[in-house]
Amino acid sequence: MAAYQDNFFTRGPSPLARLTFFGLAAIAIMIADHRFQALGIVRVAVSSVLTPIEHALMWPGQVARDIGEYFVSKDRLLAENRALNDRVLKLAAEGQRATLLAAEQANIEAVQQANARFQRDGVVAEIIRDARNPFARKVIINRGYSHGLKPGAAVIDGTGVVGQVTSLGATSAEVTLTTEKDQSVPVMVLRTTLVAAPTTPSGAPLLAAQSSATPPADLAASSTAAGDAVAAKVPAPVAAAVVETKAGLRAIAVGTGRDGTIDLPFIPVAADVQVGDQLVTSGIDGTYPAGLLVATVTVVDKNPAFSFARIVAQPASAPDHFRFVKVLQPADKATAYPTPDAGVGDKSSADKTASKRDAKLEAKRALRENR
């Protein structure tokens, strides 16, 4: 039998040697991919071959769905049409207000020489399938770099932020959802953002006055990391005062890896967060434009035994219900990190910091290219 002969005349290295070789090669590739993101080009090359095949495989399902849609009842279409009409009317009013706000914003930006935070253009894409990886919350859309998409672009649907473009093919892109484990979005609490007037919290008027007098409070609220540092140093009531006198609590929404939940870690127990609060993007990362709805707070568990509250939110978008999403192009330049000597109103120092900022960005870019 052929089965026996094979073993008498084995060619090349032994199975164990092969296993060692290929095993090490696989591990090396994993490290190269995970640690250094070095194999993006291999991914793009292989995926450009696979994508047409996958598109072809989508076809039977697509046909079935199209046929199903053809026989949709008239009632449902009418109801849908009415809902959409209502929405158009509502959005028309909001759109007009937004035009006004955008004009004001442009004015302010011209004065402050700040980077534009609001994005106008986007690419509409269709979600074609889930990623076939049971460990990842990702969807595949039918637009890629040939349609002008850029890595890192924010993706939204009709209700809120869906996620971020994390991998690009020629005609398809992979969108990592906000619920993916450790996927983070900088957010702020909309309710406290709208109340711009600094209110003195009852019970700690003196502390509040103190905190509003000290300038670092401004910086502290601008990022959670800095806010935590302050919260760790000072007793809880002061931290509360710092937060409450600011317009808008900033935080980072972090995905949990489970469907339908987003965590809000590192929020002090005394912070002003309530069930039902809407979390919108704060725009400080330069990736997500400010003001997009990310999630709604569902659980606020303030246990004084811990230094941070346990806050869980439900994502606003429902990528399994929507077929179409919009990819917003990221800003060309991220908002620069504030330097300590960036004086307000002092023109020459502002220019200086601007040039310094550019030099820093250049250095960063060079570093990235060297990688």
């Binding site: 199975p15 092969r18 696989a26 994993m30 292989v46 095949i53 889930d130 990886n133 049971p134 489970r258």
Partner: protein, 158 residues
Amino acid sequence: MRLVLGSLLVALLLNLLPWSGWALLLKPDFLLLVVLYWAVHESRSVGQTWGFAFGLLMDVADSALLGQHALVYVVAIFLTQQLRIRMLHLRLFEQALHVAGILFVAQLIYIGLNLSLGRDFAGLALLFGPAVGALLWTPLHAIAVLPRFRRRGETVML
């Protein structure tokens, strides 16, 4: 050889179907199953090199970390090569039990790799994928010997 390539291609296409939800968790890795089949029956040509190449292909297709399927496939083929001669003496049902064991080890490596990357366990259903795969071993054998059976008119021992 045409049969080998063709069946591998079909298995790849099956893997590339838009699986999701429960089906995704329960889905056996068709490609791995067919590669293992040929590692038993065409051990001269199909070996770890093929497993490595197809593994990388699946990594890209599944948008997983590059190399994890490759490692899983190579280890599974190594185990199959060790058990191969023994399996050829057994009946199909007993072969399938061996395959279930190999697929289970492969799945454990896959899950372990993903957990070590800090991901959450996706669900217990993942552990049943290998069993489903092993159930497919007999039909797979039947399909694979069908052309030979027809051409030569031989009786094939099932």
